[in-house]
Amino acid sequence: MFGKLTWQAIPWDQPIPLVAGSVVVLIVLAVLAWVVIKGYLPYLWREWITSVDHKRIGVMYTLLGAVMLLRGFIDAIMMRSQQAAAFRAAGYLPPEHYDQIFSAHGTIMIFFAAMPIVIGLMNFAVPLQLGVRDVAFPTLNSTSFWLTATGALLVNISLVIGEFARTGWLVYPPLSGLPYSPGVGVDYYLWALLISGVGTLMTGINFVTTILKIRAPGMSYLRMTIFCWTALAANLLIVAAFPILTATLAMLALDRYLDFHFFTNEAGGNMMMFINLIWAWGHPEVYILVLPAFGIFSEVISTFSGKPLFNYRSMVAATMFICLVSYMVWLHHFFTMGAGGNVNAFFGISTSIIAVGTGVKIYNWLFTMYGGRIRFATPMLWSMGFLVTFVIGGMTGVLLAVPPADFLLHNSLFLVAHFHNVIIGGVLFAAFAGITYWFPKAFGFKLDEGWGKIAFWLSLIGFYVVFMPLYVAGLLGMTRRLQHYDVAAWRPWVLVAGIGIIIMICAAACQVVQFVVSIRRRDELRDETGDPWDGRSLEWATASPPPPFNFAVLPDVRGEEPYWEIKRRAIETQQLSAEPKYEPIEMPRNSPTGFITAFFCTMTGFALIWHIWWMVGLGIVAAYAVFVWFAWRDVTEYSIPAEEVARFDRARRQAREQWLAQHAGQPA
């Protein structure tokens, strides 16, 4: 009846995951109960769960990412403390548990923390910056989100029911094959990623279409913000790379479920093919993460320097250059597998060429600051921290691209330090910069700057204290994924990293405090103008939070920095542009399709993991039924009457009039 699922699946004998899991379950139940008791459920359902509004979906993505970041962070704390304790000792986490932790940490951080945050910020900002009302396929957008949430849910279920993969975050066969990983851990991994991967692919399609086909009148390609450009590049990479991930994992699933032999040791299977294919996705993936991060920094640095971005065209070129070249470098992750001189040299060189494009970006940010009038608000601090940190991480990356050097450093803690250096210094800092930057747009009040700055400094210092020692440990030959070790030379460095993690805990605590404090002081932090940072692009041209339709009338774009120009003109002429003629606006209706699809996907995924075949069939049939039901709807849009639009826009204009009065006679 329940396949492989029995009471034994719950790790009664392992107190740590059990307690941790129960606590999480209790918290979730408590939150749910609170929501129900307070009567928020209908509101949540109507306004959030079924919402197809890109801004709401963006917020939900980011929230999911933040929660998963916390989960991944707890894993990281456990790993660092285990290694600090496990010098010639067993530590407190047995290998079969420790191995799950780093696998889950990598998987969660990449797929369910970094990706959702990056996609969330794109969702929130891109349509606003393009000056339009929504993405190309709003309902699909909601489905994408819920499928991602499904993946995250499955991974977290594995904490209490069964186990997670013990193979590393990229489940190399044959270790991940049935003979060497007979448990359900790898299956959790496979189905979580297959399902959420489809969601991500649909996001990619959605955004490529949005950016190429839906822009405000006059918004030609070379007038889009760099964030839109990087979003375009990242989504092109998603469209090009995620199908490969899906295919590769599907092959592994066939090996495990139907006795295929793609990657097995027996019957001619070739595990090298897995490694090849997974990196053909994996490398573009890291640029999917970092390109939008670059976009965020571009926006932030230009805004807070009070200057347009330096060499905009060069920046666009560098973005597309990285986008293309990142598809030709994947072998650098397996130089040590023995492909020979020619192959290694080719991929080594193509990898290092990416440094040129990235360097151009760094220098353009640098010269954006040059001659600027820099305000060190929290987002700008994150950006400065990024510039310095990322340059170091990039350098060690290029070092790893030199095959003879990689022959010494592959899979060492030096590598671990490299990628945390670029991911934390690049993606995570961008996430925090972006969240603080756009938070007032999303919620109408700023985040507390004091706590934000403390969090920044602690994160920066904590990062260096954790990961600089790991560079050294790597140079001393320490390899990654060690549950314990007995080489004395490594020990001091591991201990320093252990101290660093304490600083990071403080940093994370400050982040949380920042949110709590800001929400409690929201009335003081309120921003009425819709433009708290003196921004330059179109998202600041509307109210905070923006109405469902974003813009009462689509802006007419006349240059690279449309909003900056509108503002300047307003100040010069001391008046806002004439009131437009308001028309009714058609907006897509909310739809539970995404949520219901995801529900059945969770069910199917769970059933597949535990071999509960009847439930698999049920889930698939139900999913098809939902699809047809959705296709059968007749009314998909609703109309917002012109008066409503006008009422909203007049309120906004009033706030702007006030702002204008304050800026009377002041040069732009």
Partner: protein, 131 residues
Amino acid sequence: MSHETNARDPGDVGPGFMDAAELTAREGIARYVIGFVLACALTAASFYVLNTSLIWGPGIPVALVVLAIAQMGVHLVFFLHITTAPDNTNNVLALAFGVLIVALVIGGSLWIMDHLNENMMPMHQMMQMQR
């Protein structure tokens, strides 16, 4: 934001829009017929090439690949209405991007795997060691 219309946008077409060329039904059918005939001919040629002795043996796969590419082109032009007209630029660019990625994935993988397999061939190794 854009209404549920079926109106044509001047200057912008999606892929597969057969009304873009403003064909009458008769012309439309003619177009599919031409495509169909061409595709049939190319398919027949493929099957013929496989079993012919006219072509130098090792060249046969090459001929097959070329024929396949030709046939895909026929499908794209006659069935999917992809053209080089300016209003089609975005469609063609997307296609080009896709083709590039496919070429990189297949070509790259084959190149890499070839070298790996060659380097690790057990037999080769055995012979070396028996020396």
